[in-house]
């Protein structure tokens, strides 16, 4: 009986990958556990093992093929003595081969070209500067921002778990160890409180640390140093000494990683005076904001998103391109309603705006980009034009950024409102694991569409 071998999912967020290399050929006998292929994700090259014994009947996908969707049949295994043509297609059974996640191969010296889908939401930034651009992923943009700033300023260094030899848990720091060495790309033990405190102390000692949290969920271990040591020292010292540093890493839900690894901390950190809070949407945001953050003399919380890492956008080629803090980006102009969002919420908002356009509703989409400071002027000017507002974010509803925006609009533009502001957020529950429940817990474009129609009385 023939068995199909399917393209495996090798990370929580992987949707497709590259079949980099076949290590077997048709007719080869394969043992259980034998490595049969190398598969490249946007993070790493992984070795792929056969589950069952058998003979390689047919390789369905040629090596070097990019963009192979998860669960696509990539090969057919047959039993010994059987040939591929003997196997009746109806009898093909499915075998999800196993992966050895401990074996990470081919972490190249130079950042390898990364296969990633170009973002479907392809609206251009209205405020990208004049000049040539290049297409790059959010991941590449973050890496390039760090590398450029480290080249420019010898006091900038990166520390965190797996940032060096492992090349970054999410491959943001890939290649940096090779270029800058272990003095400036510092692997830490898994001790967030300790290394966050060491980072803050180093910032007082004349350095500009970039502290990577593998995810912001783990920053809870270190939040005392972020708030009490980093954010407040400039004030407590009467302006004598501050903490010029960046805390960065992925924030919010990834995919199916459960309650402890899926939380949006935007509103938490945005509540703290003394911190700057950046939350990029596009690769241009990511690069421009991270360069600003590294240069800024204050402690900056830099909230990335794992799902966005592999998405591609146009980024200015100009090495001096930076995105200033407190300057929102109008991603799409509209006249009927203002949708205010940030981070991955912008993707949902743009998708909703596209849907709404089909119904003749013209939505303006604002990407806040920084939550501390917030560009109130851009939001208020837009609301005064459209007279309606919906906010979109992934975080919990109580004490959300949307609440703050809604209250600001109420206080400063009440007479312009034709409807109450609706705040679209994640649901008020810990993140569930079950796929259907997780989907239900997260904010979706469909919910944004419903909210917009509601404020438009449609």
């Amino acid at each position: 009986m023939a068995t199909e071998v399917l393209m495996p999912a090798l990370s929580p967020t992987m949707e497709e990958g590259t079949l980099a290399k076949w290590l077997v050929k048709e007719g080869d006998k394969v043992k259980s556990g034998q490595i049969i292929a190398e598969i490249e994700t946007d993070k790493a090259t992984m070795e792929f093992e056969a589950v069952d014994e058998g003979v390689v009947g047919k390789l369905l996908i040629a090596e070097g093929t990019a963009g192979v969707k998860v669960n696509t049949p990539i090969a057919v295994m047959v039993e010994e003595g059987e040939s591929f043509s003997d196997a009746a297609p109806a009898a093909v059974a499915v075998s999800r081969a196993e992966v050895r996640p401990t074996v990470v191969a081919a972490v190249a010296a130079a950042p390898a070209p990364i296969a990633a889908p170009v973002a479907k939401a392809g609206w251009p930034h209205s405020d990208l500067p004049e000049g040539p651009t290049k297409t790059m992923t959010v991941r590449e943009a973050l890496r390039e921002a760090m590398a450029e700033e480290m080249r420019a300023d010898p006091t900038v260094f990166l520390m965190g778990e797996e940032v060096g030899e492992y090349q970054g848990a999410y491959k943001i720091s890939q290649g940096l160890l090779d270029e800058f060495g272990p003095r400036r790309v510092v692997d830490t033990p898994i001790t967030e409180m300790g290394f966050a405190g060491i980072g803050v102390g180093a910032s007082w000692g004349g350095l500009k640390p970039i502290v990577e949290f593998m995810t912001f969920n783990f920053s809870m271990q270190a939040i005392d140093h972020v708030l009490n040591s980093a954010a407040k020292t400039l004030y407590m010292s009467g302006g004598q000494m501050g903490s010029p540093m960046v805390f960065r890493g992925p924030n919010g839900a990834a995919a199916r990683v459960g309650a402890q690894h899926s939380q949006d901390y935007s509103a938490w950190y945005a509540a703290i005076p003394g911190l700057r809070v950046c939350i990029p949407y596009s690769a241009a945001d990511a690069k421009g904001l991270l360069k600003s953050a590294i240069r800024d003399p204050n402690p900056v919380i830099f909230l990335e998103n794992e799902i966005m890492y592999g998405r591609s956008f146009e980024v200015p080629v100009d090495p001096d391109f930076v995105v200033p803090f407190g300057k929102a980006s109008v991603m799409r102009e509209g006249s009927d309603v203002t949708i205010v969002s940030f981070g991955i919420g912008v993707a949902h908002s743009l998708a909703a705006a596209e849907e709404l356009a089909k119904d003749g509703i013209s939505a303006e989409v604002i990407n806040l980009r920084t939550l501390r400071p917030i560009d109130y002027d851009t939001v208020l000017a837009s609301v005064m034009k459209t007279n309606r507002c919906v906010t979109v974010e992934e975080g919990f509803p109580v004490g959300s950024i949307g609440d703050h925006i809604a209250s600001t609009i109420m206080q400063r533009a009440f007479d312009y409102l034709d409807a109450p502001v609706i705040t679209c957020t994640g649901k008020d529950v810990p993140m569930p694991y079950a796929a259907n429940l997780e989907k239900f817990a997260l904010i979706t474009p469909a919910e944004v569409v419903t909210a917009v129609k509601s404020v438009c009385y449609r």
Binding site: F195, G197, G201, L207, P273
Partner: protein, 328 residues
């Protein structure tokens, strides 16, 4: 508590007079702060250093320019010992614009970049990784400075201390961890906090050498400091000094100190007082006359009174200061 040192150590009159003067300044300053607190001129939390003066004075005597220090909320003594102006410290206690933090930090939050004093931290144990971070910066920058990271026996049980030990030894950071063991974490005695009461030995699991020192003997403290500094400056990584000391006053101003007996306190004051110890060395050794010491007492009193007057007269910060120094 270790035994009394030899009556005649090999130390000059000038050196002893310097220690006497510096320890007396801290004690009189703290007594004055206590008075001002009672008068309502100082508010909030105020943790006095009385009794522990030999620790900072002895260690400061071993430092060089460029060395750094960071400590907890019981920080007035550390600031005076590293040469910060008593007027600026006292005015911070009264919350005035002439204070080191313009009145915005208070007793627990003062800093001086000029004197390499990095606070003044109110979260127990937080200063430990911060101090290691300062040492990280010095190693990164390639100089030979060391950082003194002070914390108490209470903080010594915090998890982040051990995270820091691990990284400090792993990265061979030039940091000296100074545990000021005064026997009580607020009201909880060492015996009621841990079965592992030899704090200096807790670094051994990470490969960090440590030793216990009579923290009431300024000469023993200085000698231990020199040894630790030599270890650090030579690039051998961190070192732990456990200073056996005692605080005469309560944990803070509002502490009735019911957790220990009056006799216990009196016994230490009579037998182990760090200032009396140096005074005895000076007088019994015939190195200084009562008149000389009285002149110093008078001088110190004048400095402290001057700081108190400054702290009363310095204006409160302008209301506009509320909104400054949040961002650089």
């Amino acid at each position: 508590m270790a035994k009394k040192p030899d009556a005649r150590p090999n130390v000059s009159k000038e050196e002893l007079l310097k220690y006497y003067r510096e320890m007396l300044l801290i004690r009189r300053f703290e007594e004055k702060a206590g008075q001002l607190y009672g008068m309502g001129l100082i508010g909030g939390f105020c943790h006095l250093y009385i009794g522990q003066e030999a620790v900072v004075v002895g260690l400061e005597a071993a430092t060089k320019e460029g060395d750094k220090r960071v400590t907890s909320y019981r920080d007035h003594g550390h600031m005076l010992a590293c040469g910060m102006d008593p007027k600026g410290v006292m005015a911070e206690l009264t919350g005035r614009i002439g204070g080191y933090s313009k009145g915005k930090g208070g007793s627990m939050h003062m800093f001086s970049k000029e004197k390499h004093f990095y606070g003044g931290h109110g979260i127990v144990g937080a200063q430990v990784p911060l101090g290691a971070g300062l040492a990280f910066a010095d190693k990164y920058l390639g100089n030979d400075n060391v950082t003194f990271t002070y914390f108490g026996d209470g903080a010594a049980n915090q998890g982040q201390v051990y995270e820091t030990y691990n990284m400090a030894e792993l990265w061979q950071l030039p940091v000296i961890f100074v545990i000021e063991n005064n026997g009580y974490a607020m009201g909880t005695s060492v015996k009621r906090s841990t079965k592992s009461t030899t704090y200096f030995g807790r670094g051994l699991a990470y490969g960090i050498p440590g030793e216990q020192v009579d923290g009431m003997d300024v000469l023993a403290v200085k000698a231990a400091g020199e040894k630790a500094i030599a270890h650090c400056r030579a690039g051998n990584g961190p070192y732990i000094l456990e200073m056996m000391t005692y605080r005469y006053r309560g944990h803070s101003m509002s502490d009735p100190a019911k957790y220990r007996t009056r006799e216990e306190v009196e016994k230490i004051k009579t037998e182990k007082d760090c200032i009396e110890h140096v005074r005895d060395l000076l007088t019994q050794g015939g190195l200084a006359s009562d008149e000389e010491l009285k002149a110093i007492d008078k001088d110190i009193k004048a400095i402290v009174n001057e700081s108190a007057e400054f702290a009363k007269e310095s204006p409160e910060p302008d209301l506009s200061e509320l909104w400054t120094d949040i961002y650089a």
